[in-house]
């Protein structure tokens, strides 16, 4: 077999991923800040008022990107879980558990901002329609994952149990996404989708997409930062960690 350009398996070792993540996270954090600054500026000062909802619609600049991220992060967790079960790599489980709190945060943000918007617009904080309920289940799946992995002392076993939860739970993601199509829901359909032209004004769309990019970058930066902490904690008895500490002294 010919030598691949990048030896991916090299970075599957926590010892070599630790410095790489350390180099990468500040860049993603800087990008997140830049995108968030531009996105928030468009959201609050450039984007026009909505014809029907007035200023209240501006919640979408947080609500929609947060909901997207909450679903996407879960898919990434499921991906790492599958890799972890298949290749038996230690880093995959660490990546999964590094992503979970951020995913839970976004799921919570999505539900909370939605409730704040729902009261004045719909006339209810919360309704048990398919979209809202499945997103709530997503939040519980995140919390369940965090609780389960925290409850098992042996990290390798914890990763395995967590991997199964995230793989089983990933079935929920398409249900959330398509719920507004499959059933009658109070929640409106998608304004932006891959199959049709967006049904919103261009500046509003730009604000939303910039915020989505900011959330992406934030998630990557925070996950990398967190995975470094997890690596150090789990590998604390390894020689490379001792050498690292020796170098810093």
């Amino acid at each position: 077999m010919s030598q691949p350009l990048i030896n991916w398996f090299k970075f599957a070792s926590p010892a070599s991923f630790y410095p790489l993540a350390g180099k990468m996270w500040p860049w993603f954090a800087a990008l997140a800040t830049a995108f968030a600054a531009a996105g928030l500026w468009i959201s609050f000062f450039v984007a026009p008022t909505d014809f029907q909802q007035g200023e209240g619609y501006r919640i979408i600049f947080i609500h929609v990107p947060a909901s997207w991220m909450s679903m996407f992060i879960y898919c990434v967790m499921a991906f790492w879980s599958a890799i972890g079960i298949g290749f038996n790599t230690r880093l995959s489980g660490m990546m999964s558990s590094a992503l979970a709190p951020t995913g839970a945060l976004f799921a919570f943000l999505s539900l909370w901002t939605g409730a704040l918007w729902g009261k004045p617009m719909w006339g209810a904080w919360w309704v048990w329609d398919a979209r809202l309920t499945s997103e709530l289940i997503l939040l519980f799946l995140y919390l369940g994952y965090i609780a389960l992995t925290a409850a098992i002392d042996d990290p390798r076993r914890a990763d395995k149990a967590g991997a199964i939860v995230s793989l089983v739970g990933v079935i929920n993601v398409p249900i959330i996404y398509f719920s507004v199509k499959w059933w009658n829901t109070l929640h409106q359909g998608a304004s932006v989708s891959m199959t049709k032209a967006p049904t919103m004004a261009a500046t509003m769309l730009w604000g939303m997409l910039l915020m989505a990019l900011a959330f992406w970058m934030y998630s990557i930066a925070v996950a990398l930062y967190r995975v470094r902490a997890i690596i150090l904690e789990r590998e604390r008895h390894a020689t490379w960690v001792a050498e690292l500490l020796e170098m810093q002294r």
Binding site: T49, P120, W122, G123, I175, Q188, S191, M200, A201
Partner: protein
């Protein structure tokens, strides 16, 4: 077959089985997962008769009447219509020609008495000027047809 191929096969097989199970379950609960029934579904007798349910559709243009705090309006899905009476505060987005979901019970006279009215927002977001332009275009199209 290497051990890792076997593990990937188990993951894929497991996911496929779970997906099919989820699809079957959701299909079985189809009628319980809908948030509201359309006037056509109500006319076809698909809505539950012995308990409260929600109807959803558009508020028919020109049908809204207010007496004190009781609002009467007609919910339509352009095919069938149901008259609704509601006493209480209507949400901000409630208006004629817009989506609405009302919870309550259907009387023997075919009138729906709502205990809760929610506005259903659509997926269109645009500035007031754009909305004005769209309305003008619609008006122009109407006059052209005549």
């Amino acid at each position: 077959m290497k051990a890792r191929h076997k593990r990937f096969a188990i993951v894929l097989g497991g996911l496929a089985a779970l997906g099919i199970a989820a699809a079957l379950i959701l299909n079985a609960f189809q009628s319980n997962l809908v948030f509201f029934f359309t006037p056509t579904q109500v006319a076809n007798g698909e809505a539950p008769k012995d308990r409260a349910f929600r109807i959803g559709g558009l508020v028919k243009e020109g049908s809204l009447q207010r007496t004190d705090i009781t609002a009467r309006f007609v919910v339509t899905d352009t095919a069938k219509e149901i008259p609704v009476a509601y006493t209480g505060i209507l949400p901000d987005l409630f208006s004629e020609g817009k989506g609405v979901v009302a919870q309550g019970a259907l009387g023997a006279d075919g009138k729906f008495t709502a205990t809760e009215v929610l506005a259903k927002h659509d997926e269109n977001y645009m500035p007031p000027e754009a909305k004005h332009a769209v309305d003008q275009a619609h008006e122009a199209a109407k006059t052209l047809k005549q």
